[in-house]
Symmetry: C2
Subunit: 118 residues, 2 copies
């Protein structure tokens, strides 16, 4: 085995920061590839490759306009991510409701287990 393919999931596809950047740009409106290339300052083949991954998980759609390919956002595959993290929202916003847990965290940081930093 190995790590799951980046095209398995939105989870996996979006773990790559550049792909998140691309989505962020597209959220402002559709763009042809070369626009993205210019905005990102990355080599064109690399951008095309990232777009391919995003296409395969359905996060972007393409449309042909002359010799350009215009990419647009399709956020729906992000919903599972949203749904999943949303359940944890309280764990940081109301995190002092469970002081015991906080204390445990602090305690384990002071303890002697190689300080779990690795």
């Amino acid at each position: 085995m190995a790590r799951a393919a980046t095209t398995t999931d939105a989870f996996n596809a979006v773990a790559e920061p550049r792909r998140r950047q691309i989505l962020d740009l597209l959220s402002r409106g559709e763009r042809p590839v070369n626009d993205l290339v210019a905005l990102l300052g990355l080599p064109q083949p690399l951008v095309s490759k990232h777009l391919r991954v995003l296409r395969q998980v359905g996060l972007v759609a393409v449309r042909d306009v002359g010799r350009q390919r215009v990419y647009s956002l399709n956020g729906e595959p992000l919903k599972p991510i949203h749904d999943w993290v949303k359940a944890y929202e309280e764990s940081w916003s109301r995190r002092f409701d469970r002081l015991d847990v906080v204390l445990e965290v602090l305690q384990s940081k002071e303890d002697s287990h190689g300080s779990d930093s690795d």
Copy 2:
């Protein structure tokens, strides 16, 4: 280069479904490793390895209790994920506000570009 380390980010750490499962279990309360092993039905070394990754990105904390190591959830590193996806929430909940985009998606699916299924 290669793919970013799983320990780089919460984004990367959480791309692995088993690690999400572990967090889901811990969200119900802290647990020693063997509890998780039993609940997940996975080999113990594998669980320990996943826990290590989660520890390295700060998603879990450990506490020693006798010869057991009790793991607990720390959701805070998930906040960046939440913040990021949240911005896209409208793109699926209000997705018919931009009918043009929807039409483009449909159109590109009918078009002849190898149907972007790959």
